[in-house]
Symmetry: C2
Subunit: 115 residues, 2 copies
């Protein structure tokens, strides 16, 4: 006999519980930003190139048949996301993976894709 405010099928209490379980907005935003970085095949190729070796920018460009500029731009995005680190050696800058999560995230994605 009571008035229901819900469109659907769960009660207000459950609704509230679910709402409380949502991660904070800021975390959600960061999480989305992280996955966006993985959401480009060029960047994934760079990450795979760095899987076992560190590489300098020019070699990545040669390896992946990309322009130096494009590689540099993408490396910046990967660096901002803290997925790669770098060190300078003379004129070259060597990039390497900066986080073991990179492996696991790519692996998980690969498992899903390969089904």
């Amino acid at each position: 006999m009571e008035q229901k405010e819900e469109h659907g099928n769960i009660d207000a209490e459950t609704m509230q519980t679910l709402e409380n379980k949502q991660p904070p907005e800021e975390i959600l935003y960061d999480l989305a930003e992280l996955f966006k970085v993985f959401g480009d095949s060029t960047r994934i190729r760079i990450l795979y190139a760095l899987f076992e070796n560190e590489l300098c920018v020019g070699d990545i460009a040669t390896l992946l048949h990309m322009s130096q500029s494009s590689v540099s731009h993408q490396l910046r995005i990967l660096k901002d996301a803290k997925l790669v680190k770098f060190r300078r050696e003379g004129k070259s800058i060597f990039y390497a993976l900066d986080d073991e999560h990179v492996y696991h995230i790519l692996e998980m994605g690969m498992e899903h894709v390969e089904e």
Copy 2:
């Protein structure tokens, strides 16, 4: 004394080895597509809402303060990526997670973000 074609620092043989280790173009594309789906906070919120319960479209909209249309559009993307499944019950359509990888991928991302 030989002419080097490489910009950088690794030899042609190593270059070739690295090139061979790159996943095939099609896989890379699918992988990027998958991560793109995770690369939006709205969709992540929907996935978290479905973490422990199935929910109908209207309830998701209410829970997340979104329009029905927007939720429906995003559910379509999640469905196409095979991350959610659905069943009809009368007028309502209930969505649920369709893959254990969803949990793991989100967890991995969360770990990286929370550092």
